[in-house]
């Protein structure tokens, strides 16, 4: 790929910033982050299977400030990927392709992910903090 010199199509910097660009690249970025997070899910299950000591140290690990910040990031990534993923599934069905709809649904994904993240962490705080 890199060895052939062909003219390139206009790339990112030529375009005005638009929300659909941001949701598109964020969808990929959150997807990669969640793929890493999947290892944490498995690690948690393994620690639960390993016994009480392992499980408690896992909870202790996730309950410290760094763990909570990571969980906060992962939860938002999950909700964004979820909302925007549903948006993509709807678009795959051929709906919502008018430009105003496209822009609006992008913002809906962003707003939905923030709302869900806030709701979940409000619940966590009300239930007495993480872990």
């Amino acid at each position: 790929m890199a060895e052939t010199q062909r003219p390139l199509s206009p790339h990112l910097q030529i375009y005005r910033k638009q929300v659909q660009m941001m949701t598109s690249i964020t969808h990929r970025a959150t997807g990669v982050a969640l793929a890493v997070g999947s290892l944490l899910v498995v690690y948690g299950l393994l620690q639960l299977a390993a016994g009480e000591g392992s499980f408690n140290s896992f909870r202790h690990l996730m309950g410290n400030p760094v763990g909570v910040i990571l969980l906060l990031g992962w939860s938002w990534a999950l909700f964004f990927h979820l909302c925007n993923g549903i948006r993509h599934l709807i678009q795959d069905a051929g709906l919502g392709y008018e430009i105003p709809q496209f822009v609006r649904s992008s913002w809906l994904s962003v707003a939905g992910s923030v709302v869900l993240t806030v709701l979940v962490w409000a619940y966590v705080l009300m239930a007495g903090g993480a872990a």
């Binding site: 790929m1 999947s38 498995v42 299950l45 639960l48 299977a49 408690n56 966590v124 872990a131």
Partner: protein
């Protein structure tokens, strides 16, 4: 079957014949399975968040008992398998798009598949150990 055998002119592009790349019969597989696992993960993902929140302050015995519940064990295994499958399909596209050195691309594509299979097997094994150990 070549044109010589049938007497019918082969109308395929000569380059296509040379490369041996005809229809692979699975052109939309990647796309379709990505959507299929996505749809499953909408449901399984929400379920997983709910169960994690419900076990937020559960002690070890309660958490273990919850995972050992037949339905929870079943759905957890489904979640783990679907999650890794979807992750591999997504990471594959990201690698194909952004890694332009062929050998690095291939190494990464193989590595994520190995890792995902290991992760999925480890997750399933953990749930089974919890569910089947009295």
């Amino acid at each position: 079957m070549s044109a010589k055998d049938t007497g019918v002119e082969d109308r395929r592009d000569p380059m296509k014949i040379a490369r041996g790349l005809g229809s692979a019969q699975s052109g939309v597989d990647h796309w379709w399975v990505q959507r299929l696992t996505a749809a499953a993960l909408v449901l399984l993902g929400i379920w997983f968040v709910v169960i994690v929140l419900r076990l937020l302050h559960a002690d070890y015995a309660t958490a273990r008992a919850a995972v050992a519940q037949p339905w929870n064990a079943l759905l957890l295994i489904a979640f783990v398998l679907t999650m890794f499958w979807h992750a591999v399909l997504g990471l594959q596209v990201v690698i194909e798009d952004y890694v332009h050195t062929r050998w690095k691309e291939v190494v990464l594509l193989v590595a994520i598949k190995f890792l995902a299979v290991l992760g999925a097997l480890a997750g399933v094994l953990a749930v089974l150990r919890i569910a089947l150990t009295p």
